[in-house]
């Protein structure tokens, strides 16, 4: 059996944006893993809530202030993230750098607010199962806030210190998709942790 050359691949462009590059698929893979993790943790919360005589078991509901502030901030940060992504896909370096700093700052602010949320949960992880599952969900989401902050900060530092070409612009786009995922995954958790105790009682 012999090989017969029938074409030339060198005319193909280097990796592109979104599904044309491999990094997007890595992001997609990890987001589906984290979606499964979030869904199961939320399932566990609902399972425990349904089998409990009252919910929360014997601690006050979490204070609404910081949680709602966090939700508003995260939703508001979607627009700068979109602008950051579009600048990246336009390969416009100046705009990408500007929006990058804004998104990183918002991410940092979200982490600060999260720091205030924990004391206002009004329960401890070792109080009862309500405290345990609330802290589990909050820590799960906080881990994602932290990883995305590191990812965005690293990218922004790179944008300012190195010459940027298409691969790095597609990294910007992937990071924005991951940030949107972190924001959207917060919504069900916010409703569960802050509103389920109020609606259930």
């Amino acid at each position: 059996m012999k090989a017969r050359v029938v074409g030339d691949l060198s005319i193909l462009p280097p990796a592109g944006f979104r599904s044309y590059g491999l990094w997007f698929w890595a992001g997609l893979g990890f987001m589906s893993i984290e979606t499964a993790g979030f869904a199961l943790a939320i399932g566990a919360y609902l399972y425990l809530m349904s089998s409990a005589p009252q919910w929360p078991l014997d601690s006050p509901s979490p204070d609404l202030l910081w949680g709602t502030l966090q939700t508003v901030l995260l939703l508001a940060s979607l627009w700068p993230a979109l602008a950051f992504s579009r600048a990246g896909r336009r390969c416009d370096l100046a705009a990408t750098r500007r929006w990058g700093v804004i998104v990183a700052a918002l991410n940092a602010l979200a982490l600060v607010i999260r720091g205030f949320e924990f004391p206002h949960l009004n329960t401890r992880w070792d109080f009862d199962v309500y405290g345990s599952i609330v802290w589990a969900l909050m820590l799960l989401h906080t881990a994602h806030l932290i990883t995305d902050f590191i990812d965005t900060a690293m990218l922004v530092v790179f944008l300012f210190t190195h010459s940027v070409d298409v691969e790095r612009f597609s990294d910007v786009d992937d990071d924005c998709i991951y940030w949107a995922f972190v924001v959207l995954s917060w919504l069900p958790i916010y409703l569960l942790i802050y509103w389920a105790p109020r609606l259930a009682s």
């Binding site: 017969r4 462009p13 893993i33």
Partner: protein, 644 residues
């Protein structure tokens, strides 16, 4: 189709081969060993490590059988026996079955889909290292008498803070974290390779069945493994910082553990056995000289099995007193899964019926698989019925069932597949005589060991007992099982010896010793470090059986590591991407992560302080290297997906 031992169809001429081999080469020596990103190198190591753990798990099983050979035998005390059977289950399920199937995929998928390497080579390397770290931790704990003791399922509250003293169940929970991270990493890499890096022309209808089964297995891993990570993380936080997930007195529920565990547990056994189906399809097609009958039905059956697997985990919990109507739903779902399996069995036998089967050793394992797996599948249908399950649940009937479907359904195809692809991996043919002897011993030993367990289970012998009294009448069958276990062990020994001897002194195997049709047989044996110099174009399901000439595409860069990306469904070439060079960061990240995981067993603050070195390693790993498009300096116009 002559069994040409001569030049492979896709061989590059010598100087292009030398240039490309230098670009894709792995550094020599220890540094090369620690930094390699070559999927074949990592795949070989993964398979060998998996087989080592298979032998260790087998020795543990032999110890259990020796203890159970006679009633009231004082050979092993209950504490040691609980550790041994927990280690046997944990090793076989988490350190052998899932990893070795992914290991076969890591080695074979790029070759079968016509790619130069895996999608995320460093992630592959990390997957192997973190898996190895987990295995080393578990067996170090076994030596230090801190091995898990609550079974491979480790139900709470027995594995909880009050009833499992010391650090034993923590070691089990942390091992889950190790192996699941390894499994998830490999699954993402395998799925991306199959979806984005197929040879041009390999549409979804021409993807080899082994690649299909690995794609579906990867999706199942991605959805199922987070469940056991949650279950074990909740367990370890109960044990270390006093949370109450499974503490009934504080609102928690032991059933929450079982739901989370078995939501992973049942897909896990399909994650183990779906790759086995893929291997059977490949071997059957080659040895019957006929492409598998009913390809679309086979793919549909794989998809149905993968999807249904998530809907029937409660059949492990029929005895926990859940409402009976709910249980009946799971009876129906559990029985429905017999349909895709039955259809696949028909297709394989039809392929044999219509083709001309030649009984090389791999084909013997396929026949052994069909005979064994169907019996195990049918005893599974019996277990699906709620009333019958309340009698046979947690007895030796269940032990017999899952050994029939796991050893029959996954280990037989695996042994056949290793024998089948051994010439491609090492370039040498294993001896047929030793192969047949090994099969005979394994098949008869297996049936002698596990068929009597059906009877002992029906006679009321519960699972996980370290001994039983003489007047129960179980002594005879247990002795028979122990004899069978030794014969099975002998068979495995002959099998492994055959491979070890053949690896050094086996006759040279040409590129295609069995006359297979897949792309992996188009390269030399063992394949060059870059797999395919020129990318093959696929026009049918078995490209090498289509005619005398294999169309190829040239033009991928030879000065840098470059791979071709193709569209998901039609595999049309879309773009070229750089493949990472060998990197030490996967290994170093594994060290940092292992320190974090093991340290957090002894002090929970390790999670906080241990994450700093891990973050540093990850940043260093993902810190962008000089980008591929600048290295290649091709015109950047027409970047797919850009807005400008």
């Amino acid at each position: 189709m002559s069994l040409d031992a001569g030049a492979p169809p896709i061989a590059l001429d010598p100087e292009r081969h030398a240039a490309l081999a230098r670009v894709w080469a792995t550094p020599r020596g220890l540094w090369g060993f620690l930094t390699t990103v070559d999927a074949k190198e990592i795949g070989k190591r993964y398979i060998v490590t998996g087989l080592v753990f298979f032998v260790l798990g087998g020795l543990l099983a032999a110890a259990m059988r020796t203890q159970l050979a006679r009633p009231e035998s004082g050979l092993i005390d209950p504490d040691r026996y609980n550790q041994i059977f927990s280690m046997h289950g944990t090793t076989m399920m988490f350190l052998f079955a899932v990893p070795i199937m992914e290991a076969m995929a890591v080695y074979l998928t790029p070759l079968m889909v016509g790619a130069r390497t895996m999608a995320f080579p460093r992630l592959n390397a990390f997957s192997y290292w973190i898996y190895l770290a987990g295995g080393v931790m578990l067996y170090a704990a076994f030596v230090l008498n801190i091995a898990p003791e609550a079974g491979w399922t480790a139900y709470a509250p027995l594995s909880g803070p009050q009833f499992s003293a010391g650090k034993r169940s923590d070691i089990w929970a942390q091992l889950i974290t190790f192996t699941e991270v390894a499994g998830l990493a490999a699954a993402v890499s395998i799925a991306a390779t199959i979806l984005k890096m197929r040879a041009p022309g390999m549409t979804l209808a021409r993807v080899p069945l082994f690649a299909w089964s690995m794609l579906i297995t990867s999706f199942m891993v991605i959805v199922a493994m987070p469940a056991v990570m949650l279950a074990s993380s909740f367990l370890i936080s109960d044990r270390l910082i006093g949370t109450h997930f499974y503490n009934a007195a504080e609102g928690g529920s032991p059933l929450l553990y079982q739901h989370l565990f078995w939501f992973f547990g049942h897909p896990e056994v399909y994650i183990i056995f779906l790759p086995g189906l893929g291997m059977v399809s490949e071997i059957t097609a080659t040895f019957c000289r006929r492409s598998v009958f009913g390809y679309p039905v086979m793919v549909l059956a794989l998809l149905t099995t993968g999807f249904l697997a998530f809907g029937l985990w409660v059949h492990h919990m029929f005895a926990t007193g859940l409402p009976r109507l709910g249980d009946s739903f799971y009876t129906a779902a559990s029985m429905t899964i017999a349909l895709p399996a039955g259809v696949q069995i028909f297709c394989w036998i039809a392929t044999m019926w219509d083709g001309r089967p030649r009984f090389g050793t791999p084909m013997l394992y396929v026949v052994g698989f069909i005979v064994t797996f169907v019996l195990g599948g049918l005893s599974g249908v019996m277990l699906a019925s709620v009333p019958l399950d309340t009698q046979v649940h947690d007895t030796y009937f269940v032990v017999a069932h899952f050994h029939y479907v796991l050893i029959g359904g996954a280990v037989f195809p695996l042994l056949g597949a290793i024998h089948y692809w051994f010439p491609k991996i090492t370039g040498r043919l294993p001896s047929e005589l030793a192969g047949r002897w090994a099969f005979a011993l394994i098949f008869s030993g297996f049936n002698l060991a596990f068929f009597p367990m059906h009877l002992v289970g029906l006679w009321g012998m519960p699972r996980r007992v370290y001994t039983y009294s003489a007047e129960m009448g179980w002594g005879g069958m247990n002795l028979l099982s122990t004899a069978g276990a030794y014969v099975l062990a002998a068979g495995v020994a002959v099998y492994l010896l055959n491979l070890i001897v053949a690896a050094r002194r086996g006759p040279a195997a040409g590129p295609n010793p069995w006359g297979g049709g897949g792309l992996e047989w188009a390269t030399s044996s063992p394949p060059p470090v870059y797999n395919f110099g020129m990318t093959p174009v696929v026009e049918g399901r078995e490209p090498l059986w289509l005619g005398e000439e294999l169309p190829v595409l040239d033009g991928l860069d030879e000065r840098t590591r470059e791979v071709l990306l193709t569209s998901v469904s039609q595999a049309k070439p879309t773009s070229r991407e750089g493949s990472p060079d060998p990197s030490i960061w996967p290994f170093v990240t594994t060290l940092a992560t292992s320190v974090l995981f093991v340290g957090s067993i002894f002090d929970e603050w390790w999670v906080v302080w241990g994450s700093l070195p891990v973050t540093a390693c990850v940043i260093a790993w993902f810190w962008p290297k000089p980008s591929h498009s600048r290295q290649v300096k091709r015109r950047d116009s027409g970047i797919p997906g850009a807005i400008a």
